[in-house]
Amino acid sequence: MPSEYGFYGTLLEINLTEGKINQKKLTPDLIENYLGGRGLATRILYENIDPSCDPLGEHNVLVIATSPLLKTKAPTACRGHMVFKSPLTGMLGSSNCGGTWASRLKSTGYDALMIKGKASQPVQVDIQREKTEIRPAAEVWGKDVHQTTDILSSQKNSSPSPGILTIGPAGENLCLYSAVMNDKNRAYGRSGPGAVFGSKNLKAITVTGKMSPPLKDKERFQSGLDQALYMMKAAPITKRLLRELGTSGLLKLIHLMDMLPHQNFQDNLHNMKELDKISGETLRESILERVGACYGCPVACQTHTRVGEKKGEGPEYETLVMIGPNCGIYNLKAVALANYRCNELGLDTISLGGTLACAMELYEKGILDKKTTGGIPLNFGNESLLPRLVDLIAYRKAFGEKLAEGSFRLASDFHHPELSMTIKKMEIPAYDPRSSFTQALGYMTSPTGACHLRGGYAVSLAFFGGTKEIPRFSIQQSPLAIRNMQNLGIIQDSLGICRFTGFAFSTEPWARMMSGATGMDFSTSQLQKISHRIASMERAFNLQAGLKEEDDCLPDRFSHESIGVEGKDKLISPELIQRMRRDYYQSRGWSPKGKLSTLIRADLQLNKRYT
């Protein structure tokens, strides 16, 4: 086996159609040019897929990659990145997850994993250094995420214990926004990877191993590590806030910034007393049992909660708002229980909340009625419906069949696509784009559809960016600000580290840790260049998948229905959308229509095969 510093140089390829397992060499220049995680996975995907393929067909490919920082002491370096063609958007699917699974994958001696083809029967894959097997999964098929995890763990009974990545019934039933879960409650949530697993008859992947590649320059690594830890201890958000309040602690702040969506983004008006019922502070006082952390994370933002006899994780901010106020619901326990059930069934809570909110608006506007919903009164605020709806969706039963397709297809089927708050058919997360031009542009230009993580988390720049705080309504600053924020996200996803470290520091300590780990020279400017390259790589995929300029757009609502922000009416006109989009393309070096220039294509070496 080729052995490099910080990584092994090995990709494990599994072809489910043929039942074949191969090891492929990953050359160091791939790490030099794409780092790991998101960059590495996207490059491998691009070389092994026809982007115009049917996302639920046999030819879709799924790649999960780790980074040279995993299995080191780099704080939060535990994250894996999964890419595939998304069944929800028809574009690049790209999802990132913490927990422990990705670190355990790296312990098996592989840097990345590629799944091709489709098994004829439900299967699970068991990866160990010595032997990888594709096994029947009849015993766990149909089981939920928690049950599957328990069964597979008890079967393995190994030391160290196995990492288990699995889908639930939502993935098996090809719900377009189904998730892939690890550690029971940690989700590769967005873009519908669960359905891709399901379409391949792949139920789970277990990983067991003890390996970790050596570091090249321990002193250099340590200097970056020291600085990173110091900054994380110094910054209140990473030191204390996330641990004490979880991400749900953002709720009131985002409301004070007039950015908290209400009833399918119809407005941003909430009653503070109602918000108090679901705030992070209330969560801490009422349902929090303990905090938890992903592998190697000193921040520990996980909230382990209990409602009655039921235990689970969350809700996180996005879940809280999308299933809560965005559906007119202000009941913490109801949202938490729905969240638990989503985790068990393997559903992305953001898209679920967005889809329900859309259905509720369709219902309240009389476009849907009880006849079409199978007797369900889909009114905003009807929290008692949540448990039933989540199950109907995951099992695609009754009206759940329609809801499992996501809000865009739902609203289009009923001739009102304008009521779907989606971009590239993916539901917009819990920040109203009218409250920040930068965030709006981030959603528009995210390679995966409306995603605050892949699109750039501009909210932090606007409200708690410290010295990096920027104006939120600057037309001319927004394109570059969001591009830089997206680049930072690309670097973080590619290094396998958590977004939340960005509240404490930027890329400099990572450059040092990465250089120390691999022995390659990574400067911050190089990381920037690499992030640009990865953004263009993702664009190349999407263009081949059929992306058009006009897909980088906001739903009409945000151009025609204003909300009040700091006492002023705000919306984002079509002209402004066009201008910011054009400027953004230019900032990336793309053509005014968003196409890649010859220069960029040359840099990407699209014909080159690394794998």
């Binding site: 600085q227 990096k468 920027i470 939120r472 600057s474 600053q477 400067s523 400017s525």
Partner: protein, 438 residues
């Protein structure tokens, strides 16, 4: 006495008030010291000399503290006007001169004191910094038996100011003359800044005379000169539609001035857009005085000034969104102080304070004029670079606030390092070992 009675337009009153307040903030006046004068034509086209009243407090000028006089004949206004009015009036008669300012520039006064028996001919003052040397050149220093409004001063000072933009009245202060009152204030600030730098160099044992000789014989090898002072409209703004940005620019400019990161109207900062950059060519801008806020194409042009060129160069070769250039006097001084145990000028500034050394293990120092590639590379790697004879440059990934933080920290780091030296602490021991080989 109200404004109307003195017939002084309100914008001129506001200008005097703003310069007065800024001069107090910059500590080049005491409560009642100094005076300033401006040539003005009234509505009927008559020339007027507008000057501060005798004994007025420059930090709190009311309309009645300004006198509008006939420039060439005595009128009632002279009862109230500054005792140095005659000097000002003669200065304002010099060709192309519209404003003059006298300030108690304490650092410059101290730097130009001498122990000689009086009367004598004091040596002129040679600034050892790029701002001072460029804007003021060699500054004459004169001793006067009666150093306030005396006939000798009335005769000598305007004569000095024929060839020099500033002159020092030994033991008293500086007199500057300029095209505008803002420019006269700029000259006074820069002059005092040069005095401050001289004092610190002297205090820290830097051999000043060889340095000065080198400056006089080949100033271009010592300094990266900034663009000369320009007379753009200080309230002009090319991007007033970007309300939030304008506010950010004003806030940043005020902070640079008030925190003494660069003397009045010196330095520059910018925020990059996609095709253009928003550019403040006079970075140090007190709120009420402002400075031009320009929108400039990012395309490089032959006509670009030195300063503008560097901003564009930074943006063309990086993803940074903000850039800033300040003339921090303490940083300039430290570029001349050899590191412990050596004789050569330093190539890095090593913070010895806890926060400074954590954020910046070292801050690189380059000589003037810096080689562009290594300058940009260092900016990439360190975010902030000090140029000996060329100020402090910094970059930020997102915001003006972020880029401002660098010069602000640098000044603090310099103050701690200088302070530790003054206390005789062993800096070699205080510097982190890692910083030496970084």
């Amino acid at each position: 006495m109200n404004e109307r009675k003195w017939r002084i337009p309100s914008q001129i009153i506001r200008l005097f008030q703003a310069v007065g307040r800024a001069s107090l903030l910059y500590d080049i006046q005491d409560s009642h010291s100094g005076n300033m004068a401006l040539k003005h034509r009234d509505k009927k086209g008559r020339e007027q000399l507008i000057i501060t009243a005798s004994g007025s407090q420059k930090g709190d000028l009311e309309p009645q503290h300004l006198c509008a006089l006939s420039p060439n004949k005595t009128d009632f206004g002279y009862y109230k006007a500054s005792s140095e009015t005659d000097i000002h009036s003669r200065i304002l008669n010099l060709k192309g001169i519209n404003a003059s300012l006298h300030a108690h520039t304490k650092d410059l006064v101290i730097a130009t004191l001498d122990p000689e028996r009086k009367p004598n001919h004091p040596a002129p003052f040679i600034p050892a910094d790029p701002l001072g040397y460029q804007a003021l050149g060699i500054i004459p220093v004169d001793w006067f038996r009666v150093p306030s409004g005396s006939p000798e001063m009335i005769q000598k000072i305007p004569q000095r100011l024929k060839d020099h933009s500033a002159t020092v009245i030994q033991g008293h202060g500086v007199m500057t003359r300029a095209r505008t009152l803002q420019e006269a204030f700029f000259l006074a600030c820069v002059a005092n800044n040069s005095g401050y730098i001289f004092r610190l160099l002297e205090k820290h044992g830097v051999e000043i005379e060889p340095l000065r000789k080198k400056i006089v014989s080949d100033s271009y090898s010592c300094f990266s000169f900034p663009a000369p002072y320009t007379l753009q409209d200080d309230h002009s703004c090319d991007f007033s539609h970007e309300e939030e940005l304008v506010k950010e620019f004003q806030k940043t400019g005020a902070r640079i001035f008030e925190s003494r990161l660069s003397p009045f109207h010196t330095g520059s900062f910018s925020l990059r857009g996609v095709k253009t950059m928003f550019y403040a060519p006079k970075a140090s801008m007190p709120r009420e005085l402002g400075g031009p806020l320009l929108e400039k194409s990012l395309e490089k042009k032959n006509s670009d000034g030195y300063e503008e060129k560097i901003h564009k160069e930074i943006y063309s070769q990086s993803n940074f969104q903000t850039a800033m250039h300040c003339y921090i006097p303490e940083a300039e001084v430290l570029t001349h102080i050899s590191p412990p145990g050596t004789n050569s000028p330093p190539d890095r500034l090593v913070p010895v304070d806890a926060e400074g050394s954590f954020f910046y293990l070292v801050i690189p120092i380059l000589s003037s004029p810096p080689e562009m590639d290594s300058f940009l590379q260092l900016l990439h790697d360190y975010k902030v670079v000090i140029v000996r004879g060329g100020g402090v440059w910094a970059v930020g990934e997102q915001s003006l606030s972020e880029v401002l933080h660098h010069p602000s920290s640098v000044r603090e780091i310099c103050l701690y390092r200088l302070g530790a030296r003054e206390r005789g602490l062993d800096l070699g021991k205080m510097e982190p070992a890692k910083a030496k080989k970084w």
